[in-house]
């Protein structure tokens, strides 16, 4: 069997206390496993502060992990030598939420999308102009745009430039960190469709990180739900959205309003009490227990591990069987 394209095992990322007032270590990611198969989209959802973006940044080696492994085609990204890393970097690209902040304002679009070739090679200097035009067309821009600067574009167009740059080296994996959440609804759909078209054509994989549960449902094959640095539930798209088993997943899904007043009038909503606890001092045992209606003593003392409670996918909850039936 070929190994998965990306196999993250026990990833931990802590940030040391900041500033002279101290505070504690921020436990942003506390041991998560995650695999992405070739050609697949793995959606990672959760609310702000759950650690989903930290996962993206750590896997991309933009941050140094505190612990764990991330195997890319079987090789550990965290321990591989520089030379191997350099070649793996071609295969892994990232696009960000704010395309403006990730595009150099002093570079023309042409130099932005040709830069990967200058660094990694792959396209000779004489062919770059044509290849650049081709890339621009691929992402729905025109070659006339090549000589303009990022500020001359709208938010959606900037995200297209970011995607063109990510595609330049024909990567196997693109990490998409909230790629559409800064965009207007009508533009979001354009970008989502573009990402899907590119995937159908090139067979690449996405790690798609977002807080918008409807967008994640639409684009993902596999979905993992994060809460306070942990994955609490993972399964196929249909398993997570069709038969969620973790109380947090259920509450999250029930909180999203559907754009249809008839459906809305008939839905019952599980409103979670309180706020997400601080990742500096997460609750003992199950991290969700402080907001969970089903929490019992065991939830405070024992940390639930991801296992299948008989629903066909993995859930980290002591009471998942009960929660399913509710």
């Amino acid at each position: 069997m070929t190994p998965p394209l990306l196999d993250v095992q026990g990833l931990v990322k802590h940030y040391p206390p900041e500033g002279f007032l101290g505070g504690g270590t921020v436990q942003a990611v506390s041991g998560i496993d995650l695999t992405i198969e070739a050609g697949q989209t793995h959606g990672l959802v959760g609310e702000s502060g759950c650690g989903k973006s930290t996962v993206a940044r750590t896997v991309m080696r933009l941050e140094k992990p505190t612990g764990g492994r991330a195997l890319f085609e079987g090789d550990d990204l965290f321990t591989m030598n520089r030379r191997r890393m350099r070649s793996v970097r071609r295969d892994m690209q990232i696009i960000f939420q704010d395309p403006f902040a990730s595009l150099n304002p002093r570079m023309t679009v042409r130099s932005i999308i040709e830069e990967p070739w200058k660094i990694h090679g792959g396209v000779g200097a004489s062919e770059r102009s044509d290849a650049g035009d081709e890339l621009l067309r691929k992402v729905g821009l025109s070659p006339e745009h090549a000589n303009r600067y990022p500020h001359q574009f709208s938010g959606g167009q900037r995200q297209r430039i970011g995607i063109a740059r990510a595609l330049a080296l024909n990567p196997k994996l693109i990490v998409c960190d909230e790629p559409v959440s800064a965009l207007d609804v009508s533009i979001q759909a354009q970008i989502v469709n573009l990402l899907q078209e590119i995937q159908e054509e090139r067979g690449l994989s996405y790690l798609f990180i977002a807080h918008d549960l409807a967008v994640v449902r639409h684009i993902s094959d596999v979905v993992s739900v994060m809460y306070l640095g942990k994955i609490v539930e993972t399964g196929t798209r249909d398993e997570i959205y069709g038969s969620p088993a973790h109380p947090y997943t259920k509450a999250l899904l029930s909180a999203v309003p559907e754009p249809d007043p008839i459906i809305e009038a008939s839905r019952s909503r599980t409103v979670l009490e309180g706020d997400v606890p601080s990742p500096v001092d997460p609750p003992s045992g199950c991290r969700f227990r402080t907001r969970c209606a089903h929490a019992t003593e065991v939830c405070a003392t024992e940390e639930p591990v991801l296992s299948d409670p008989g629903v066909g996918h993995m859930v980290a909850c002591h009471h998942a069987e009960v929660a399913v039936s509710l």
């Binding site: 609310e47 702000s48 709208s154 959606g156 167009q157 207007d184 609804v185 009508s186 533009i187 979001q188 759909a189 354009q190 989502v192 469709n193 899907q196 807080h211 549960l213 409807a214 967008v215 449902r217 639409h218 959205y241 509450a251 999250l252 899904l253 029930s254 909180a255 999203v256 309003p257 559907e258 754009p259 249809d260 007043p261 008839i262 459906i263 809305e264 909503r269 409103v271 979670l272 706020d275 997400v276």
Partner: protein, 338 residues
């Protein structure tokens, strides 16, 4: 306007409201010829994307459009018979907070970091009602309790940074409701919040509205939030109202191609969506609006008439709907084809 929506008189009547901003790049047409009514106890959602003019139209209701560079070029805003356009700053004091209150997307910027929150909520009473400090603090704690802040008596003495985003929005709501206004304007009240907290805040607003009978103007870009709370919907595009009507009718059969495009753009949570049907292109520059219908460059149905003349809101479907589109009667089967 078409057939009356209700027998009673509206609380608020907006007619031909036009707001412009003079900027270095030219004149920004923020809001153009906007007209609507708001009745007691109802929730009107003003929906639009960035640059649609939805927030500026709300600021005008509170006398908060910065002038200059802004100016209300024409139109009228009438609050139970009183004209608000051109009101002196002094006269606004009796309206803001008392009759019309507003909450914003980012509560932190609206709270003073160096005063206890109870003091800030109590300030409303001290300015508008002649009551003492202690009494004001007590009433503030009462309000905080009402909006669901636990340990209100103790927390009233804490500072804004000691509250989470959701709790800060509750503080803003407490402050807005202090003087029991007849209208609450909520400008993207949950956009900065997580979805589980958003649900808490929307529930709270619905509760308070039921108890107080106030009218709510909800400014948002979120089609889901609108569907869950709005009685009526007003869709803005490039500074103009392009569609208005009852929420149920609107969602069942949006009339304007832009509104139809929005519906096709959002994936659903509870069902599979094959392929999204986005609106091509992007919103126009508010400095240089297209001729004719502002939506024509992105519209599959546009013809020469649309490129040269601007459609007004006209009755669509039954009497409660209005749509500003020459093609609004085109059969649904022909729409959304790129």
């Amino acid at each position: 306007m078409s057939a009356p929506l209700r027998e009673d008189n509206p609380l608020l009547t907006v007619r031909d409201l036009t707001v412009r901003f003079d900027t270095e790049d030219g004149i920004v047409n923020a809001v153009s010829d906007l007209s609507y009514d708001l009745f007691a106890g109802e929730t009107l959602a003003i929906m639009g994307e960035s640059g649609s003019g939805k927030s500026v139209s709300a600021q005008a209701l509170m006398g908060l459009v910065p002038m200059p560079p802004g100016r209300i070029e024409k139109g009228s805003i009438s609050f139970v018979g009183q004209e608000l356009v051109g009101l002196e700053e002094n006269d606004w004091t009796n309206l803001r907070g008392e009759e019309i209150a507003m909450i914003f997307q980012d509560p932190l910027t609206s709270l003073n970091p160096v005063f206890p929150v109870g003091w800030q909520i109590g300030e409303t009473f001290r300015l508008h009602r002649t009551i003492g400090r202690r009494e004001a603090m007590r009433k503030a704690a009462e309000l905080m309790d009402r909006v669901g802040i636990p340990n209100a008596g103790k927390r009233a003495r804490q500072f804004p940074h000691q509250f989470s985003g959701g709790m800060r929005q509750r503080l803003m709501i407490a402050m807005a409701l202090a003087l029991e206004p007849k209208i609450l304007i909520a400008d993207e009240p949950t956009t900065a919040l997580d979805v589980t907290v958003q649900a808490q805040i929307m529930d709270l607003l619905a509760d308070l509205q039921r108890d107080t009978g106030m009218a709510l103007i909800l400014i948002t870009h979120d089609l889901g939030v609108v569907a869950s709370v709005a009685d009526r919907v007003l869709v803005m595009y490039a500074g103009r109202a392009v569609e208005t009507g009852r929420a149920g009718d609107f969602y069942a059969r949006p009339g304007h191609p832009y509104a139809q495009g929005l519906m096709g753009s959002v994936p659903r949570l509870l069902s599979d969506t094959d392929r999204l049907l986005p609106i091509p292109g992007h919103p126009p520059s508010v400095v240089q609006l297209p001729t004719g219908c502002s939506f024509h460059p992105r519209c599959a149905l546009a013809d020469d008439h649309c490129r040269t003349s601007r459609p007004d809101l006209t009755v669509y479907g039954d009497g409660s709907r209005q749509v500003a589109c020459f093609k609004a009667e085109t059969p649904a089967a022909l729409r959304n084809q790129p």
